[in-house]
Symmetry: C2
Subunit: 331 residues, 2 copies
């Protein structure tokens, strides 16, 4: 009762060979219905479950995905992970999760771990200053499909799935100009990330094209707290901004801390627009207007793409998930 059932034990009890048991359980046409019935009955009784390690060893497939992410505890990533887990499970895959913690070395180590664990595919969102490029070149060469999401390499020869960052940032900029704002403070994330570059460029492009548009001041922040300080500093100037744009939830949180403390009326004195997963904006009063980026949708798309790759889709693709404006009361 202690140790688990194996093909061998079943075959011994039935006085038939191991291979017959194996085939019977798989409905191989070579095996008679009578034998199949006997085998299946006993297998059920003995609670037989194939030993995945033996199967993997034999087949060289693990039915496990690796997922590497800077941090788990993050409103965007956790919904992404939730979606990937669900979809992977629905397709018979398990999910191993690894955090890189903003450390390029840990990221490389995690990729190595994925390789060691012989996962069938890898989802990865890069840390800032990622140095893993040679590693995923090798993984691809070794036949392990890699799907990049959210924070992706600039090289278009990889499979990449992102929010439509340019579109979202452009949409934000258009919305802001439409409201005839005069002095815009734009808070962006880490400047070395591709996602920041893309959003920044698209955002500024719109303003450049609109002559007589508002003045824009761009600031990069590495944390929520830094955003709070920046906003507080900006508010204390004699010509304070009349609009603040935040490219992420993290920055929005810092911004709102400062705005709440300032006592300014939103959107009367100053308006706010964010790019967000949608959870945080709903907590404030007024609720913050935002451009939605759904980690959940992105996750589902990523798994879909991964499965395509496993089926043999070889050419690299870059997929963009469109976003939409969700109106709150902050603009």
């Amino acid at each position: 009762m202690g140790n688990p059932a194996t093909l061998k034990k079943i075959s011994a009890r039935l006085n038939i060979s191991i291979s017959t048991v194996s085939r019977a359980l798989k409905n191989h046409p070579d095996i008679s219905e009578k034998t199949k019935r006997k085998v299946k009955e006993l297998a059920l009784l003995m609670e037989y479950e194939p030993n995945v390690y033996a199967v993997h060893l034999r087949t060289n497939k693990s039915r496990v995905f690796g997922l590497i992410v800077p941090v788990i505890s993050n409103l965007f990533y956790d919904s992404f992970i939730a979606a990937v887990e669900e979809e992977a499970r629905r397709n018979g895959y398990s999910l191993i999760i690894l955090q890189s913690g903003d450390d390029p070395l840990q990221e490389s180590e995690n990729l190595r771990l994925c390789k060691t664990n012989r996962v069938d595919g890898i989802f990865i969102s890069l840390v800032a200053n990622s140095r893993s490029a040679p590693l995923y070149q090798k993984l691809n060469a070794g036949g392990i499909p890699v799907v990049f999401f959210d924070i992706v390499p600039e090289d278009g020869s990889f499979d990449r799935i992102c929010m439509a960052d340019e579109e979202a940032a452009g949409m934000a900029a258009h919305t802001i100009t439409r409201y005839k704002k005069q002095r815009v403070l734009a808070l962006l994330g880490k400047p070395e990330l591709s996602i920041t570059k893309k959003r920044k460029e698209a955002f500024l492009d719109v303003f450049k094209k609109e002559t007589g548009g508002p003045a824009v001041e761009v600031r990069h922040c590495y944390s929520s707290e830094e955003a709070r300080k920046l906003v507080s500093a900006a508010l204390s100037k004699k010509t304070r901004p009349d609009h603040i744009f935040c490219m992420s939830d993290e920055l929005l949180i810092g911004t709102m801390k400062s705005l709440y403390q300032s006592g300014l009326d939103i959107p009367g004195d100053i308006s706010v627009l964010a790019i967000s997963n949608g959870f945080i904006p709903g907590l404030y009063k007024p609720e913050i207007t935002y451009i939605e980026t759904s980690g959940f949708e992105l996750g589902k798309l990523s798994v879909k793409r991964m499965l395509e790759k496993m089926e043999g889709a070889t050419a690299a693709r870059s997929i963009l998930l469109p976003s939409r404006l969700v109106a709150g009361g902050s603009l």
Copy 2:
């Protein structure tokens, strides 16, 4: 270059036996330093990595933990998961994550998946109306250690790691009575969860002991939205509560939505106290006073306990993580 290196390939190149290669890589004393050096050099060159599936098959150990949780996308669980991932990795374990999605059947299925994947240990937080009791009995019997956390079975014969729920709820109640509140609305979560029962009981106990204490109205909610409605309804009564207690972040969010909308002053007109992970309370103005429950700490403790069990700690223990009051401005 394509397929990975194996002991066999190394042994062939060096004209020595497989077992010698294996032992050389493990620094077995039987092997001469010269041979070890040669083997290790070539292994490095060929980028040898042991095939984990072969190792697991041979040793019957997988160095993988399973983690089952109702949902990933949750402020408490995601920090818990983050901690477990980190600690597990530091100890050479990988982590497979599964969501039960509030579905007892999925929970059972996930336990089965853990067994199929032959994990070395399982962390699990139960869903409401969990029906998996027989399963983990069997897992324990089968030698797979199980550590329950947060939402745990009532049966004390299992290893359980929770927040000190009684203590936290008692602390909340004491704090509230100290502020001389008159009419308290207490919002609790799903009544069928052990965590709700414990918190409710401890909370009410304190009030019972204090003669002349405030009147308490207890309500159970299944969602944030339900909490919002309940609070709104309570506020529109002629004698509205002067304090609201929320046993979780989820309920706090609903409560604050209603309070923000009501325009009431916090804590002037009505005060608020929550049990929380600490992230949400800081977003509001005023910041909400809360009793802290750290998912991160709980995660670290859980891994520690798991490792103890793997080392042979056999007797079941129930561990309580103490909590502390974090003062905001809502009371």
